[in-house]
Symmetry: C2
Subunit: 135 residues, 2 copies
Amino acid sequence: MADRQYDLGDAELEVLKVLWDEGPGTVRDVLSKLHDAGRRVAYTTVQTLLTRLEQKRFVTSNKTGLAYVYRARVSRDRVTRTRLESLLSQLYDGAAGPLVLQLVRSERLTGEEIEELQRLIEHYERDTGDAGSNI
Amino acid sequence: MADRQYDLGDAELEVLKVLWDEGPGTVRDVLSKLHDAGRRVAYTTVQTLLTRLEQKRFVTSNKTGLAYVYRARVSRDRVTRTRLESLLSQLYDGAAGPLVLQLVRSERLTGEEIEELQRLIEHYERDTGDAGSNI
DNA sequence: GCTATCCTACTACATCTGTAGGAGAAGTCA
DNA sequence: TGACTTCTCCTACAGATGTAGTAGGATAGC
């Protein structure tokens, strides 16, 4: 009963995001933020979610005064990568290329992002000597 | 009870992928493919999954001889896009750019994909007059 | 000290999802 | 026609997840 495993549910992720965005906070802090964002949810729901996140080791807590303060234990980047990997393996057999191309074709990158992309590609081509194999 | 809604579970997606890859097929066809792929699962499990997929309107069926033949009703592309959008909105606030950059930085694109990307970017820059705003 | 407030702990419950068994109809083969 | 095989239909169940109520301890203001 002590530990849960598996992945993050949507509601859990939402709570975790608040901790990423706002830094450590209590149940009430998180609840306020969620309410601000228009999310109607009960205090005890947030509490349950934070408890489960702790059981899954995504957050830690320590009692400060009256209430527990929760703190994210995994980085946004780490979770992002895991979810992304999961999407890639589920839908693209793990290949990143098709996904990138699909996204770029959808023309939703900003000018700056395109520039950054351009730089990355130049960098890549310098390293590998223009287009080559990927083995 | 007639209709289910919500999204696809992992097991459901696996079954749907078989239909995408192999074309329409019966429970047994799908089961064989899954077994070939090393997936140990019972006949009735596949049956249940196909039934649920039909309730969710991801597949249709029609009785052909003895058994029902199931056929994907939504394209791989459509489902892919939906899942991707969901990931984007959950983790990147809907912005595609950061995800693309992260993927390209992970250096998992083939030479060909990089070239294709290069072409897309050139195309983009021709259209918009080099780097510009994204409004 | 009392009372309103806030917090935690525990419990509950519905739905979704993965997984599968059993009953019974239908077709196949000897 | 009887024994298999193969299907569908219905039912079941456990774990994950979202959501929240209740009980009871701690705190703070009056």
